[in-house]
Symmetry: C2
Subunit: 336 residues, 2 copies
DNA sequence: TATCCCTTTGCAATCGAATGCAAAATAATA
DNA sequence: TATTATTTTGCATTCGATTGCAAAGGGATA
């Protein structure tokens, strides 16, 4: 139930001039005398005129809204990325429409539909940990809606991408573990098919190879991206009496889960077992010992994703898709 | 640059019937023969018809969007509240438009403007820690846009409110500290004028009074709602050699900040000093010792806020504003 | 077959702003 | 002053969907 707002026509009527004149004056278009323009602007302010974006967008067939779909805002990584996106969007006059998929593919698809209906100008996405089919993204391509994936991407969709150099980040982490003298290093991964998992695995393998350590497939496990994965996997290792002397996890929550189990059974970190996470979540500095991890600069990733998206949105000529890699950095703390 | 979508008129042309018939068929309005309806729906699906919300909303002068303005999504409390809001919104066919104020009053006001321009159906707000003037909210009231404040509210605006029973939550916390034998209990508050701070202070005072403990004004401090406040305040206490034997903080981040300083100087929690936070953030279970705190049920608060907002939005008759109080609960852990 | 009554469909205007083109007003020039 | 050039304003249509009302279609009944 929205109150009756002043419209362009109302202003025109009040001033006894035509609405087209008012419309042009309001937008500082040329061909309006300074006197008329001032009169219109003053009157608009006085009448509390607020442009009706529905009408404007309908006429122009564009909007100044960009969609963001991420799994869960409560993760540091994503909330920081969002801040980066917002920063760019605000400065360029765009409003971000943020929807969570909650790691549900179905929700992700519904969010896409909602965004299409709302005629967003473009979309930035980090996929759910379960997304393997990209039909709902293909829909966007077919509709010519610019799309940027960041961090968690999906193959087979012609779109822009902003990713971390996951492989080298992971390699740096595992190299460091080896340098510290750890020998039996496990990699607690997430969903096997997820790009970040595949790439971090590559880095893990590269580090092993680089140091002439044999690859033991029992030391690479797959699970979710949540705490329970870390907790359960450590439990499993203990049950099998196959505990490694160091673990590298696909992200910080999984490391936290591992922490919990390790502490429960009284294992000392980093003396009896070393731990490295990924993403440099805030929590890594709050726990004990503080967690060694890999910084991904999510704010920067968000910024770049937004910049690239806006470039495509505002490009007049043929646009060429890009993939951008943001460098990551090992942050050494006390868990190794 | 949005591709040409199929429109109602396109469907009509293809079927050789009038667009009004198509429009009614698509929305399952009465007065359309089953045969025609099926034909229209099938064709719409085949043509990938997506209703243009700009046109629809323009005509109807309403939208199915509800605005959410909160300080920062990265706080557990808010991200949980958002989930609650989303849950209700989705089920009722609304899309949430989420904007952060980042604790900036200016941004908060700009966000309001953006939401007005986007003609949201209603708005849910938790104010910044610095908001004292409510003019930007009054604008909403003047425009007849339904408004619900939750948790952090501002006085003097005629709106709906959803709040915690901060006073009794605080009282329970401080009562518990006293019962545990702590005698010199400080309250590390946030901005003095913020409603949650005032109410939690009341609870603190009530508990003291209830237990015949004299109020010492040096034990009540004000600061931000962030970690630094806890850290700095403990530092100050130490400098003044006026360390209390227990602290109750306005929220969990402040407690975490205090934790950091206390650990730095080697003070044992809970033996030498007890700590209770507020809000039951996830991190309270990850630190050592785990933090005693007060659960506010933010998801529930979000749900109620959304329900109330939608009631007002969809009310046909005169609407009576409401204030709803969500009960909080002391969660005892190892910091006390 | 004619009449009446529902059911189904079509017509046309509307929401608010944008814009190509024509018309009017003003300024510049002969 | 008459004419031309330029600036300023107005007209009318458009975007896509909705809706009150009128018209047409179909069936039942006399």
């Amino acid at each position: 139930m929205i109150n009756k707002n002043a419209t362009v026509k109302d202003i025109a009527k009040k001033l006894g001039i035509h609405q087209s004149t008012v419309s042009r004056a309001l937008r500082n278009l040329p061909g309006i005398s300074p006197k008329t323009r001032k009169l219109v602007l003053d009157t608009a302010k006085k009448m509390n005129y607020i442009p009706n974006l529905f009408a404007r967008n309908l006429k122009n067939n564009v909007s100044k809204t960009i969609g963001i779909i991420i799994p869960e805002i409560r993760h540091d990584f994503f909330s920081n990325a969002i801040s980066g996106i917002e920063h760019i969007a605000y400065n360029r006059g765009y409003v971000p429409l943020l929807l969570q998929s909650n790691e549900s593919v179905e929700r992700e698809s519904l969010n896409i539909d909602a965004m299409i209906s709302n005629r967003v100008a473009g979309i930035i996405v980090s996929i759910t940990q379960n997304t393997t089919n990209g039909d709902h993204f293909q829909k966007l391509i077919d509709l010519n809606i610019p799309l940027v994936f960041f961090d968690r991407i999906i193959d087979g969709i012609q779109s822009n991408k902003v990713i971390s150099d996951d492989k080298s980040g992971a390699k740096a982490a595992v190299d460091y573990l080896i340098k510290k003298g750890y020998k039996k290093i496990a990699f607690l991964s997430g969903p096997e098919e997820l790009n970040i998992c595949k790439n971090r695995l590559e880095g893990y393998l590269a580090a092993l190879k680089n140091n002439n350590i044999a690859y033991d497939k029992n030391l690479v496990t797959y699970g979710s991206l949540h705490e329970d994965n870390g907790y359960d996997t450590i439990s499993k290792f203990l049950d099998e009496e196959n505990l490694p002397d160091a673990i590298f996890t696909v992200n910080d929550p999984v490391a936290i889960g591992a922490f919990k189990k390790l502490k429960e059974v009284g294992l000392k970190i980093p003396d009896q077992i070393g731990v490295i996470g990924f993403s440099n979540n805030l929590v890594t500095t709050l726990i004990e010992p503080t967690l060694t991890t890999v910084e991904q600069y999510p704010g920067e990733m968000g910024k770049r994703a937004a910049q690239i998206l806006l470039e495509q949105i505002e490009s007049k000529e043929e646009y060429f898709l890009r993939t951008e890699v943001i460098h990551s950095k090992l942050i050494v703390r006390n868990s190794t």
